[in-house]
């Protein structure tokens, strides 16, 4: 109890600027039923928009692994009345940038444009067309499929890609999070499969919109309506199954690389889980806190085993992984693994010291404004809040939530979430 009070006192001077750093988030729903989050900011003449669909790799059929990325790729390569080059040319003409990504849960379309009327109107109209009338031209489909196959074949020679694939497979088995595209699954994909995947997943109830930047609320509402008006109203959301925890295992994959790539971990944390805060505060000390973490000190500073070593939690719609990763000269892989395991075991036994806990909170709270110092960073955070339906005051409450974590919370959360009997290890290019 006494320790807690000291902490509260210590953080008084930090709390004021931190709270004011969280931007106000506005929320509404479009006529088509898409939920929108908006942060108004006129400091720069920029508008950033992220459209997330529940259309990540977890929603693929096993035999069609690879279709989520291919669909996302193709969605912007041809719309009614415009081919891929015309779309790209018009985007470039107004200086707009289109990007995106696909992870387990989400397929994202991200637009950055200048906010001047003549510029943003062109960019918004292109995004509207991409969302409402993608054509998936057959010739473009064939070409992009061939490019995906080439990229996959190359990835399958890379130790960093091999270790990741084997790691997720070991953690999740046949659960959707454990699936990966293969040369076979990609080769069998047909254009009709992409059309079907798009129709089933790029719909209004599966979409979330995040808008940040130089628009008024009224302008943002109009844009949101315009962008989402033509989205299909069904199908709705589907749940991802709860993964079973794996039994502890160790897998070794031979590879000619000079460095071994190691990953250790297990399915651990869902978005919105109350264990989130104790786990990230604790993980700061273990391996999240960059140069000052225990893993960094033991593996890099004291032994020179690795350039970098990290641990982190990746919360997803379902239990996402806790992972520890490092790369080290082949010959010392076994020693580095032993040190890593020992650091983890002693952390699980004892948790952080009082000083470490204090340092973790001080950094996580003090650095909070750094993570919201640009429109890009704000967009990233707001999109996560929207997609995973986190509370709207998530950013406002962030510092308080960190501050309230106690040593026993951390030990209890790690004991629940990081159980050694479920920990899998994968080593590529070890001896």
């Amino acid at each position: 109890m006494t320790a807690c009070k000291c902490l509260l006192l210590l953080f008084l001077f930090l709390v004021t600027p931190v709270t004011s750093a969280a931007p106000p988030i506005e929320r509404w729903q479009t006529a088509s039923g898409v939920r929108v989050l908006f942060v108004e900011s006129h400091a720069l003449p920029i508008v950033d928009i992220q459209v997330d669909f529940a259309a990540g790799t977890a929603y693929e059929n096993f035999a069609q692994a690879g279709i989520a990325s291919l669909t996302r790729e193709l969605v912007e390569l041809g719309v009614a009345g415009m081919d891929e080059t015309q779309i790209a040319s018009r985007m470039a003409d107004v200086g707009a940038q289109l990007s995106g990504e696909v992870d387990r849960d989400r397929a994202s379309i991200i637009l950055r444009t200048l906010s001047m009327g003549d510029k943003r109107r062109v960019a918004f109209e292109l995004l509207r067309a991409i969302l409402s009338t993608p054509q998936f031209p057959a010739a473009v489909f064939e070409r992009e499929k061939a490019r995906s196959l080439a990229a996959l074949k190359e990835a399958l020679t890379r130790p960093e890609a091999l270790v990741k694939r084997a790691f997720w497979s070991a953690m999740y088995g046949s659960h959707p999070y454990g699936r990966h595209e293969t040369t076979e699954s990609l080769a069998t994909l047909e254009r009709a499969d992409v059309l079907a995947f798009h129709a089933a997943h790029y719909t209004a109830p599966r979409a979330r919109l995040a808008i940040v930047g130089d628009l008024s609320r009224a302008q943002a509402e109009a844009v949101a309506e315009e962008l989402t008006a033509a989205l299909a109203t069904s199908p709705g959301m589907t749940a991802i199954a709860v993964p079973e925890l794996p039994s502890s295992s160790e897998q070794r994959i031979a590879h000619p690389a000079v460095q071994a790539h190691l990953l250790l971990g297990l399915p651990a944390l869902k978005r919105g889980d109350p264990d989130f805060f104790p786990l990230i505060v604790g993980n700061y000390t273990l391996g999240g806190g960059g140069f000052v973490s225990r893993l960094m000190k033991a593996v890099r500073d004291q032994r020179g085993f690795a350039y970098s070593v990290h641990s982190h939690f990746q919360p997803l719609a379902q239990l996402g992984p806790f992972e520890i990763g490092l790369q080290t000269k082949k010959e010392q892989a076994q020693d580095a693994l032993a040190v890593t395991r020992e650091v983890l075991a002693s952390f699980l036994r004892e948790g952080p010291s009082d000083e470490e806990l204090l340092a973790a909170k001080q950094n996580l709270i003090g650095s909070f404004p750094l993570h919201l110092d640009s429109n890009r960073e704000i967009l990233r955070s707001v999109a996560v809040i929207g997609f995973y339906e986190l509370p709207l005051d998530y950013l406002d409450r962030y510092s308080d939530n960190i501050e309230e974590v106690t040593l026993s919370d951390i030990k209890a959360a790690f004991a629940r979430r990081v159980r050694p009997e479920h920990l899998v290890t994968v080593i590529v290019a070890g001896e």
Partner: protein, 450 residues
């Protein structure tokens, strides 16, 4: 002085005078230059110290020492123990790191604005009082060798790039990779790092860049307080080491475990030496943008989409450097195509510009991208700090930044055609090919099936 004031100017392309006013500059009596850019969007500040010493200042047998010293800068002074620098930054709610390039070495922290003074105190301390403990040195050298394994030894693309550069340059120190050759790292001793530090780490060889929620007068005061007491020192003479004229095409092959072949082409070109008088470097920047600056650019449209010669094709060029310039073309052939077919395709795109120049639309598009890119850069305090540091390091005062943009906007189609004709010939060309080697079967089966 809010960054927003730059924007109408950027758009009106009348950048010079007011864009100048946006940053503030002062030189201390010891030669240290301080450049401040006020950006008040978030209560944080980026503090960066750039030393005008990079791998191009190294000597034979000691390659990689600039970067090793960068690592050692975190290993303590008599008053701040090993690892303590990182801990102090973390406790201040900040993040920090450093990087080394051919041209310069930079250290940066991003912290809440009221911690700037503490960061200056830490940087000033390690500018003069580095311990360079031999035991720490031995440990850190192992870390750097792991970094080289991670970034180069196991990366076919990096290996090809390293070999290509080492072939294109024979006399100029740009031939050496920034991280150094492995054998030089294996034989490096603390005295090498010590002499590097003593040679180059002085206030008269450094620029401090501050971007963020600060008042420039307050920053100048803090800088004078923390850095002002350091004594300037005589810097070593820098020899030009100009590259002799290349007398014909050079070719090389790198064999490494991979699946996709890759071809990289390096053409020798100039960089900016005189902001006002130069023409060619600006035209080369726009040539790169027209060839591969966006999804509708020529490489993507012609090589990837129409001809399907490549799964990927890129062009890159940086007009700012202390040393000589290179214009890179690179790509991986599409299914059923060979590296030589792709090389011919890349060359054909250059020939097309040599013969028919570029269209007005293409040029306008490239310029629109450029202006938008400058505005988007204002969203990142790091990007702004690095831009200032980079220009200063290569000898272009940041005050001329606005002029650079104006010169780029003034480039004509005829000038783009002229540089395509002048520099893209076999005489100054080096071509590298990655010849992919299959993995042993044991390495392939488990992953492909998982």
């Amino acid at each position: 002085m809010r960054p927003t004031r730059l924007i109408p100017l950027l758009l009106a392309l009348t950048l010079a005078a007011p864009a100048l006013a946006e940053t503030f500059e002062r030189q201390l009596a010891n030669g240290l230059r301080v450049i401040v850019k006020e950006d008040r969007r978030a209560p944080t500040v980026v503090h960066m110290v750039c030393y005008r010493a990079g791998s191009m200042d190294e000597t034979n047998g000691r390659t990689g020492v600039a970067h090793v010293l960068e690592h050692m800068m975190f290993k303590g002074t008599p008053t701040v123990g090993p690892g303590e620098f990182n801990r102090r930054v973390a406790d201040a709610g900040g993040r920090d790191n450093a990087f080394t390039s051919h041209d310069y070495t930079a250290y940066f922290q991003q912290v809440p604005e009221h911690k700037l003074g503490e960061m200056m105190q830490l940087e000033a301390d390690r500018m003069r009082h580095l311990s360079l403990d031999p035991a720490e040195f031995a440990q850190e050298l192992r870390v750097v060798m792991e970094e080289r394994r991670l970034r180069t030894e196991d990366q076919p693309q990096s290996l090809l790039f390293e070999q290509l550069t080492a072939t294109a340059f024979q006399a100029h120190p740009y031939r050496v990779p920034v991280i150094g050759w492995m054998n030089d790292l294996e034989n490096m001793v603390p005295a090498d790092a010590r002499s590097w530090y003593d040679n180059w780490y002085a206030p008269n060889n450094a620029t401090v860049v501050v971007v963020g929620d600060v008042d420039h007068q307050a920053v100048f005061k803090l800088a004078a307080q923390h850095y002002g007491t350091l004594q300037p020192r005589q810097l070593p003479v820098r020899k030009p080491q100009d590259e002799p004229r290349q007398l014909g095409i050079r070719r090389l092959v790198v064999k490494a475990p991979a699946d996709l072949p890759l071809v990289m082409m390096a053409y020798k070109v100039p960089v900016i030496r005189n902001v006002e008088q130069d023409v060619d470097p600006y035209a080369l920047e726009l040539l790169a943008a027209v060839l591969a600056g966006h999804d509708a650019a020529r490489f993507s449209t012609s090589l990837v989409r129409r001809q399907r010669l490549a799964v990927e094709a890129e062009a890159s060029y940086d007009s700012t450097a202390r040393g000589p310039g290179i214009f890179y073309l690179q790509g991986s052939p599409g299914e059923g195509k060979t590296v030589s077919e792709l090389e011919a395709g890349l060359r054909a795109e250059i020939v097309a510009v040599q013969e028919r120049s570029v269209t007005a639309d293409e040029l306008a598009r490239a310029k629109a991208q450029l202006i938008a890119g400058q505005i988007y850069k204002l969203d990142s305090m790091f990007a702004q700090a690095i831009e200032i540091g980079q220009l200063e390091a290569v000898g272009i005062p940041y005050a001329q930044h606005g002029r650079l943009l104006e010169k780029l906007q003034a480039v004509t189609a005829e000038q783009v055609q002229a540089v395509a004709r002048k520099y893209f010939n076999e005489q100054g060309l080096t071509v590298g090919e990655l010849d992919p080697q299959p993995l042993p079967p044991a390495a392939r089966s488990p992953a492909a099936g998982s």
